[in-house]
């Protein structure tokens, strides 16, 4: 374990770590663009140059292994000057279009300029012009003029998404990032290139021009789109979710590093990231519904509860079906209340899957339900009252639709999820309107937080169960 000195501070570093890693882990921030904790070392941006005692040249700290007795300075005059120079070089051909750039507010060019340079431009020449608003894939647009050619996106595609869709073409200051011949940026992880991009070169088609980032508030959560349970930040403002972004445990632990400076150390699949839309569709249910000849009609909560409670009280057998979309707390409350409970889960027909992070099981909590000792919904299920949480996949639907139930109650959040034959629908709070715990495919328990209060007459499952008990 080598001990080295950085800015006068003695640090014990692990063997094989770089000066940059050791510095970050010990609260000393060295600026970096091309270095990213998930990616291979490229060493091209040159902003992380540091001074090492006894060596004639500044060296990039991202590729500098710590050595016993090494003395590193990250803030000496030469280092400070070199950083300013690199910032100047990076900005001479940059369009400086921050007022219309989506990255503004979370841009490392802006951040580092104010932190390390603050120098006005001395560049009097015509800038190099490159392509703008390039449609490189279904989810991402590119502005080649804003790009600083750090190659993070190129390395992300090659190393993490395992699909070398991006490359750098041309040479010198004519270089630009582009898709490889005949390819588009359409791997299932393409939106991570927007996250790893330290500047406004790659932007998300979904998020572009929707919100200035400084208005966004962040709440830590877990992506419920599949059983992998990726940690996320839910970013929202004024009751509306604008985007999900990967959240790294490291970032939380090491609070001194703001997420925008650290970049991400984890990533999301595009499908999961864009699944936030499911929780704010126009078909969202806000009040209890009762089926009638003219379709579903709003019904007061008191009346709805009265109908359901009566039916359950007069029912010889009430069957509950709990979905693996529910949290642990919801499942616990539901099972305690109903005697006969089965489990179900969402099973989309063309479920994506890979050996990176996308899991075939599109439910966040199937592992927990499995551990509760309750059976899958049997084919010959019968009873008087059926209470369904969330929704039923086609197979399970076939098991219940042909039986004459006295009453079918469904607790769900969106009209598109109502099963045929449902008599009463109680509006459920969405994933973002409750807090709770989920157990992912590997058995890791993670909690997620409430972003908003439940809207309209919606409640979470625990509260509905409490009301039914009364």
């Amino acid at each position: 374990m080598p001990t080295f000195t950085i800015d006068g501070k003695k640090i014990d570093a692990k063997d094989g770590t770089t000066v940059l890693q050791a510095a970050l882990a010990n609260g000393i921030f060295i600026p970096h663009y091309c270095w990213h904790p998930l990616l291979s070392i490229s060493g091209n941006c040159r902003i992380c140059l540091v001074e090492i005692e006894g060596r004639p040249k500044l060296e990039v700290s991202c590729n500098l292994a710590v050595a016993e007795g090494m003395v590193v300075r990250t803030n000496s005059d030469v280092v400070v000057a070199a950083r300013k120079d690199v910032m100047e070089f990076l900005l001479i051909n940059h369009p400086l279009d921050c007022p219309i750039c989506d990255q503004a507010g979370e841009c490392l060019l802006q951040d580092y300029h104010f932190k390390y340079s603050k120098r006005g431009s001395r560049f009097k020449e015509e800038k190099v012009h490159k392509a703008k608003v390039v449609d490189i894939g279904p989810n991402v647009k590119m502005d080649q003029e804003r790009c600083i050619l750090c190659s993070r996106c190129v390395r992300f595609c090659a190393e993490i998404a395992k699909d070398s869709e991006l490359t750098i073409a041309q040479r010198g200051d004519s270089c630009y990032v582009t898709t490889a011949p005949g390819k588009r940026l359409e791997n299932p992880y393409s939106l991570n290139t927007v996250d790893v991009c330290p500047v406004g070169a790659l932007t998300s088609k979904d998020f572009r021009f929707k919100k200035r980032v400084w208005f966004l508030k962040q709440v830590p959560s877990v992506c419920p789109h599949c059983s992998n349970g990726c940690p996320i930040w839910i970013e929202y403002e004024d009751g509306v979710i604008y985007r999900w972004r990967p959240r790294s445990e490291d970032v939380i632990r090491e609070k001194y590093i703001a997420p925008s400076q650290m970049g991400i150390t984890n990533f999301l699949c595009d499908e999961g990231r864009l699944s936030y839309k499911e929780w704010q569709l126009a078909s969202r249910i806000f009040e209890p519904l009762v089926s009638s000849e003219e379709g579903f009609k709003n019904i007061g909560a008191i009346e709805a509860l009265r109908l359901v409670k009566n039916a359950i009280a007069n029912s010889a057998e009430t069957v509950g079906v709990i979905s693996a979309q529910s949290s642990c707390e919801e499942a616990d409350a539901f099972i305690k209340f109903f005697k006969s409970v089965y489990r179900t889960k969402r099973e989309p027909k063309a479920a994506s899957e890979d050996d990176i992070i996308i899991k075939r099981d599109k439910n966040p909590n199937a592992n927990y339900l499995k551990s509760l000792n309750i059976e899958n919904l049997p084919a010959d299920v019968t009873g008087d009252v059926l209470v369904i949480v969330d929704t039923l996949p086609e197979d399970d639907m076939m098991k219940v639709v042909n039986f004459k139930w006295k009453l079918v109650v469904q607790l769900t959040h969106d009209r598109s999820l109502i099963v045929p034959g449902a008599d009463i629908v109680l509006p459920l709070a969405t994933f973002t309107e409750k807090e709770g715990t989920l157990v992912n495919h590997a058995g890791v328990r993670q909690s997620f937080s409430k972003v908003f209060e439940p809207k309209g007459g919606t409640r979470n499952l625990v509260e509905w169960v409490e009301l039914l008990k009364k």
Partner: protein, 414 residues
Amino acid sequence: MDQILTHNFKVMNAARLNAYLGRDGYRSIQKIFGMQPEAVINEVKASGLRGRGGAGFPTGTKWGFVPKNLPLQPVLCINADESEPGTFKDRAIMERDPHLLIEGIIIAAYAIGAHEAFIYIRGEYFRPYLILQAAVAEAYETGFLGNNILNRGFKLDVTIHRGGGAYICGEETGLITSIEGFRGYPRLKPPFPAVKGLYGRPTVVNNVETLAALPYIINEGAAKYASVGTEKSKGSKLMSVAGHVNKPGVYEIPLGMPLITFLNEYAGGVWKNRKLKAVIPGGSSVPVMTAVEARDTLLDYESTAQHGTMLGSGGMIVMDETADMVMALKVLSDFYHHESCGQCTPCREGTGWINKILKRIIDGQGQKDDLEMLLKIADNMVGRTICVLADALAMPVKSFITKFRKEFEDRIKG
């Protein structure tokens, strides 16, 4: 001095194996097979041979960096990319005496334990490529290359790889990346090629001229080679001289020869009876010298360094009194701007910036503070990039402007 590198240059058909064998060719191969590889390395160390590609690093020492007993076999790469403006000495060897290079390759491969060698030849060198390819084929046919060289159990395959026309692929790690089929980006060091180079294997990259000196060192002994040249710059050097001289061409000189002697006696002096104005002694990337500085400079690594420049590749560019130094620098900046790989920020942006300012000055739009700006940009580029291409433009910028400042000022004033 013996002609170490050029003894076959004037021989008819020396590029063909028969003629080469008739000139005692491949004699050193029998000799090295009787030696331990370590002994070959020591012989080369003792000869004082330094890399002739430009950096002048001791060849034997470089070979010694290859770790012993690695699970991965070492590889030898031969840098025949020769793309530094003003340099055309390797071309002469490949065209006129290709078997000398192959003989040197066998020696080097044997010394480092490589069984594969890749010659990375500049794409524009089509004729040298054909000649070299024919020579390699001859060497295979007669058992100087292949699975069992001269039935002595040593295997060596030589592959010629043509470049696509990028200057940066002459940088040793850019060359390695290019052979692997990637964009010719120089690599971050460490790891150094000697440890992890071509296809992740320990790799030595040697220049053509360096390898061409090996047969002589083995045949005649390190001491005889070392008796040529100076105390620290031993042996002979090929100089390629171009520009305003009467006899441009490739000449072999003992290291340490006075620059002026070389200019007058070999290159035939400055043409048209004009006066010497400036010399770039070792390829366009080294600092330019004024006629006064050139007067007492010796052509060796130390003396050129003392005079603030470098021997480099030995590609000498001579400029007479009529040369337009502003235009000359602008042309150089065109080249380095065009050839920057674009990887590192200071080089990618700095070469373009410098080029634009120089173009503006040439166009009569120069401004008072342009020269200071150029010097600052050059300073901000030097030593801050993965390879030395940034320095290769920064050094000419600094030396041209400081040494010929009045010309630049006059141009700006208009």
